[in-house]
């Protein structure tokens, strides 16, 4: 029995050593970590993100890598759970010695690993939207998704123009949903709009008739839903079934055409702000984002035979930023952090990035355009 125990420990020890040595960054690979919600309720975000990262990794390595070095993206599936994100962050930083981490996909997870990355001085390019990620600023923490407050303002601005005075706000009980609720509640007064009813639903909810019934009993001009889960489509369907014929607004969490397809005909007419990634063809030829977006669309759709989404776009932006600063000479974590902080006029799918020491998001409100769903496609809303 004793011999067996010793022997098993020996074997485990050897395996452990092999593991560690395989993942240590050698001089001719560039290790970048990625924490993505590939499965779980946020899989509509994580799925395209993983696909985008793998596609870019292959493309970059096939054209010689970064300054001759092989790009190695270590992807971890957090399932949208903060606890997993935390342990993967530690693993990527300590065991895999990554130069930077892309992700996580959701705001809830990002807020949980923010402190670890800042303390260990590892650049984190989050693909999530919550403003708290970069406010207050931590020097190593960046985010590439549009600001929630900008999105909320876009929606409220448009509502004011349409003379909507009373609205209903629906949010999911996730970090993203809670932030959205906070922003809308805070900013509504500025646009003289009253939030008559505000309901939070569970992120796993499969039936929303009760909530829509409650809303129907109130006098409202429009409804805003702010979540990233499939319930976004459910709301449109339920509203139609219950004959609640009010304008429906969504957040930029709606930026995956699968939501529009899932909502079907009831989804038509939904309005939401998002980056120009879906309407790149309508951009003028010399618009800096046009080529970036069209190239991304053609590569992604050719490889995966599915439409692009804003979420995959965030993965694209984070990775291309990191690759650019490394190509331009950054070799360690601190140099990467410095270089990104000084990035100007960087065209990405989400907008044109201008980072500064005080602005770790880099996107202005102009990067968002209002879209409307027509025949299950996203179109620019003429304003």
């Amino acid at each position: 029995m004793n011999r067996r125990v010793i022997f098993s420990f020996l074997i485990l020890g050897i395996f452990g050593l092999i593991q560690v040595s395989c993942n240590k960054s050698s001089n001719d690979t560039v290790n970048i970590g990625a924490i993505v919600a590939l499965t779980g309720p946020a899989s509509f975000l994580g799925g395209p993100q993983v696909k985008t990262l793998k596609m870019l990794e292959e493309k970059i390595n096939n054209s010689g890598g970064i300054n001759g070095k092989k790009l190695n993206i270590i992807i971890k599936d957090s399932q949208g759970q903060a606890a997993k994100a935390i342990s993967f962050a530690r693993q990527l930083i300590e065991e895999n010695s990554v130069l930077a981490i892309i992700g996580p996909s959701t705001s809830g997870e990002t807020l949980q690993i923010k402190n670890i990355c800042q303390k260990m001085k590892v650049p984190l390019l989050s693909m999530a939207a919550a403003e708290k990620i970069v406010n207050p600023i931590s020097s190593y923490i960046f985010k590439v998704a549009p600001k929630d407050s900008h999105v909320a303002r876009r929606i409220l601005e448009y509502m004011k123009k349409q003379n909507f005075k009373k609205i209903a706000v629906l949010t999911s009980n996730t970090g993203f949903g809670n932030e959205g609720k906070r922003q809308l509640t805070k900013l509504a007064k500025e646009y003289k709009i009253d939030i008559i009813i505000s309901e939070v639903y569970d992120k796993k909810a499969t039936d929303l008739t009760g909530i829509i019934t409650k809303i129907k009993s109130k006098e409202i001009d429009a409804i805003v839903n702010w979540s990233i889960v499939p319930a976004q489509s459910l709301i449109a369907k339920t509203m139609k079934q219950l004959k609640l014929n009010k304008p429906l607004f969504q957040s930029h969490g709606f930026g995956n055409i699968k939501y529009a397809i899932s909502a079907g005909a009831p989804g038509n007419g939904t309005i939401f702000p998002c980056s120009r990634i879906f309407i790149a063809k309508q951009l003028p030829v010399d618009h800096p984002q046009r080529k970036v977006i069209l190239d991304y669309i053609s590569d992604y759709t050719k490889k995966y035979n599915e439409p692009i989404s804003t979420f995959g776009g965030h993965a694209y932006d984070s990775l291309t930023m990191i690759v650019k600063v490394i190509t331009d000479g950054a070799t360690n974590r601190q140099m990467i952090q410095q270089a990104i902080e000084n990035l100007h006029d960087f065209p990405g799918t989400a907008g044109i990035f201008n980072f500064t020491a005080k602005d770790h998001n880099g996107l202005s409100i102009d990067c968002l355009a209002l879209h409307i769903v027509k025949d299950q496609q996203f179109e620019l809303l003429p304003e």
């Binding site: 009760g210 909530i211 019934t213 409650k214 499939p230 005909a265």
Partner: protein, 295 residues
């Protein structure tokens, strides 16, 4: 005001019939084996996923039938592989095995079907149609769910009261030794109970999929609710499970008057605790004996 009442009521009844159907499946397995099958939700998911995938190129009724039959047989095979050999284990170990099966199946579904949500097309009308009753609106799909649940329960009642196999199953669950002496193969009855339970779950999954969409891990959430329904009705009581399901559905729906929407799951889980504290045999069992199993 009354239209809102009926809206909540119908929403509650439709969700409740789903819970009821899943609970009945759990009770059937419990009655013949004494264990709670925590992988029950996964059979619902499997039925929904298979029917949805087939419905792309087959007519819907055929897709559903194939999905149900496949899941039923699959369920029986799972029982044979994982549970038959271990009948001498105590119930707790077997329940943990079912939890393991649930995790395994979820992963298999994830590999085959990915993370997308699948659904059958609405059986009548489309995503927006609805009709009204007493001022409340609901999708025709809700009626399909309620009708299917009612029909299944009627068929099962007849099966258990009148047919030879049904009587044999009841005999095997009430007194396995005596049943064996009468020539009834108890292990076959157990497999059959899994098959029936799997078929019920698959049908429920297929019918509910247009409304909510099913993905690879939709099973656990509903398993808990079904379990709560079965406990409320009194574990082992067939009709109790049905009524328990409807009660939970309706309570959840009306709780929206006072609770924020994301707290409604409390209803199901706290009702388990309340029943176990105050009436452990459930609402519909007169005796507090745990061994009372009545179809």
């Amino acid at each position: 005001m009354t239209s809102t009442f009926f809206q909540y009521l119908f929403a509650g009844i439709s969700q409740g019939s789903l819970y009821a159907l899943l609970a009945v499946g759990m009770v059937i397995v419990y009655n013949t084996t004494g264990l709670i099958n925590f992988a029950h939700g996964e059979f619902m998911v499997l039925g929904a996923l298979i029917s949805s995938t087939l419905a792309v190129f087959l007519p819907i009724p055929l897709a559903i039938i194939i999905g149900v039959i496949f899941t039923a047989i699959f369920s029986g095979i799972i029982e044979i592989i994982f549970l038959r050999k271990f009948k001498n284990f105590n119930v707790l170990k077997m329940i943990i095995i079912t939890i393991g099966i649930s995790i395994l199946l979820k992963d298999v579904f994830h590999h085959i079907w990915g993370t997308d949500y699948y659904s059958l097309p609405y059986f009548t009308g489309d995503k927006g149609t609805s009709f009204s009753l007493f001022g409340a609106y609901f999708s025709p799909q809700v009626l399909w769910v309620i009708a299917m649940a009612t029909l299944s329960i009627i068929i099962l009642s007849i099966f258990f009261k009148k047919s030879k196999t049904g009587l044999a199953m009841r005999a095997a669950s009430l007194n396995p030794r005596a049943a064996r002496l009468c020539g009834i193969s108890t292990s076959r009855m157990i497999t059959l109970s899994f098959i029936i339970s799997g078929a019920l779950a698959a049908t429920a999954g297929a019918f509910i999929s247009p409304i909510s969409g099913i993905c690879f891990d939709s099973g656990s959430y509903l398993s808990v609710k079904a379990f709560a329904a079965a406990i409320i009705g009194g574990l082992g009581s067939f009709y109790g499970a049905v009524i328990g399901g409807i009660i939970i559905g309706v309570l959840e729906s009306f709780s929206l008057y006072i609770l924020p929407a994301n707290y409604i799951d409390i209803i199901a889980t706290s009702s388990i605790l309340i029943i176990l504290f105050f009436k452990p045999a459930g609402l519909f069992n007169k005796k507090i004996l745990q061994n009372l199993k009545e179809f």
